[in-house]
């Protein structure tokens, strides 16, 4: 199973989040600015490639930034939350870590919970 983490975040806080991730995991994330044709929601994609341990260490930072609505969506391995909330992020972490340890079915799935 792929052990990468992809975050879609608001541009304003991307640099801070990236720095914080680098500090707490020891891995420097790769950042790319993404703009779509509709022009309404530019965002930054932050990727931590193939680093299971780094993803585990980043848990608190991720949840903190989900709470502050900086992170729009999260993908960890084959699991994703298109609309990041604390609930979906926690669920995602559990599934990802279980899948990594072989105790969960590692099929691609979305963990979106009621985003309202």
């Amino acid at each position: 199973m792929d052990a990468s983490m992809i975050l879609h975040v608001t541009p304003q806080a991307a640099a801070t989040l990236s720095d914080e991730l680098a500090r707490c995991t020891g891995v420097t994330p790769v950042c790319a600015q993404r703009s779509s044709l509709d022009g309404t929601l530019p965002e930054v994609v932050i990727a931590v490639f193939a680093a299971k341990e780094a993803i585990r260490l980043a848990r608190d930072v991720i949840l903190k930034y989900v709470d502050s609505k900086v992170i729009r969506s999260i993908k960890m391995g084959d699991f994703e939350a298109q609309f990041a909330t604390r609930e979906s992020a926690e669920k995602l972490y559990n599934l990802f870590l279980q899948a990594q340890s072989g105790s969960a079915d590692a099929t691609r799935s979305s963990v979106d919970v009621d985003p309202s």
């Binding site: 992809i6 879609h8 790769v30 993404r34 779509s36 044709l37 022009g39 994609v45 309202s116």
Partner: protein, 380 residues
């Protein structure tokens, strides 16, 4: 930044990525390589294309390090093309009710594809399923296929419609890159500066010009919308993209790459593509507000329609000023080149674009709103 890493980033940035072809080969003679060769010298930063297939159709630009990558999603182009074909197919239906019904089915199908019931939890999901089942019972039709396969798109003849479909969005994105690198001024020749909208003062000048055609409630809306700066950016890039596609038509002609019949067909095609694209954007944005599916969400949807109306009016005005003899898109005559679909292009425009003179919404947008009411009945 290595190509492998950039490729991984494109894959990460794409919505439910199915495949990525990056970097797009520059040494193969193809319309896209001609496009890339024409655009690259205009931007003071490395520019590349990535052909992608997104599970949820998308079209985006990625800036990785100092490189710009325009990701051309074949599924997005397929959705725009297919939707246009499906919508135009309904035009010859003489019976007004049947025509409306055909359009409604298309819009309901679009909503199902872009905001599927599975995206929702209880109680919205079962209610949506119920609404869709009822609609399907009433219409007695199977779903409409509105997405063209990438292969079909590549097989289209190299003409103005091809340029509009394959080039317009990529050129729009390239204009964003030029804004960022500061190369955008060279895009607008001196004698056209008065026509372009590249900042707020220019936009204000144009609002005066557009008073006659912009819907009354939109006249000052440009300046009261949440984010006029980003809207002006989009308007500029629409205008820039139009100029670039005109230039590319000339380049393609010189390279004897296809058959071109004239500027009116190009304009015709761009406006049709643009209208279909805007309808898709509205659904994309609505989907992004999926958690706000409420009165507030629908209010946002209407604000997006307003943004689109403004963009369309500005592009229409720009084109009308630029192309001699074309006072307004609404006055275009049917062009023989539109034989790709076998229908009169002017009719398509009048049906699909914003009806500027009457300040009314187009059939597509109104039908889309009606379809939303059907699908989400009782959900709000």
């Amino acid at each position: 930044m290595t190509d492998t890493l950039v490729r991984q980033m494109v894959e990460a940035a794409a919505s439910r990525c199915e495949w990525v072809n990056f970097p797009y080969p520059k040494d193969v003679l193809s319309p896209l390589s001609v496009l890339l060769a024409t655009l690259s010298p205009k931007i003071a930063a490395p520019l590349d294309f990535a052909l992608v297939a997104c599970g949820f159709p998308d079209f985006f630009t990625l800036k990785v390090g100092d490189r710009f990558i325009v990701a051309i999603d074949v599924n997005y182009l397929g959705a725009v093309h297919g939707m246009l074909v499906a919508f135009l197919s309904a035009l010859p239906i003489r019976d007004r009710n049947l025509r409306r019904q055909a359009r409604l089915e298309l819009c309901v199908q679009l909503i199902q594809n872009y905001i599927p019931p599975a995206s929702f939890d209880d109680p919205i999901r079962p209610r949506m399923n119920q609404n869709l089942a009822r609609f399907s019972e009433q219409t007695g039709r199977v779903s409409i296929v509105f997405q063209s396969a990438p292969m079909e798109l590549e097989m289209l003849p190299y003409d103005e419609f091809y340029l509009a479909l394959w080039f317009f969005f990529a050129c729009h994105e390239a204009c964003h890159c030029m804004r960022e690198t500061g190369d955008w001024r060279q895009l607008i020749p001196d004698d056209l500066e008065d026509l372009a909208v590249f900042d707020l003062p220019h936009a204000r000048q144009h609002v005066d010009r557009l008073r006659a055609v912009i819907p009354v409630d939109s006249r000052e809306a440009l300046f009261t919308l949440d984010d006029p700066v980003s809207l002006i950016e989009e308007i500029f890039c629409d205008q820039g993209a139009f100029l670039l596609v005109l230039e590319l038509a000339q380049v393609m002609r010189e390279k004897r790459f296809g058959e071109f019949s004239g500027v009116s067909y190009l304009v015709d095609s761009i406006f049709n593509i643009f209208a279909a694209h805007q309808a898709l954007l509205e659904l994309r944005r609505l989907r992004q507000r999926i958690g706000l599916l409420s009165e507030r969400g629908l209010a946002g949807y209407r604000a997006d329609r307003l943004r689109n109306a403004i963009r369309f009016s500005f592009l229409e005005d720009f084109v009308a000023c630029l192309v001699p003899g074309l006072e307004s898109v609404a006055h275009f005559k049917s062009t023989p080149g539109f034989s790709t679909f076998g229908y009169g292009g002017a009719f398509g425009i009048r049906e699909m674009a914003w009806n500027a003179q009457a300040a009314k919404r187009t059939a597509l947008d109104d039908t889309m709103e009606e379809a939303l009411q059907i699908v989400f009945a009782g959900c709000l």
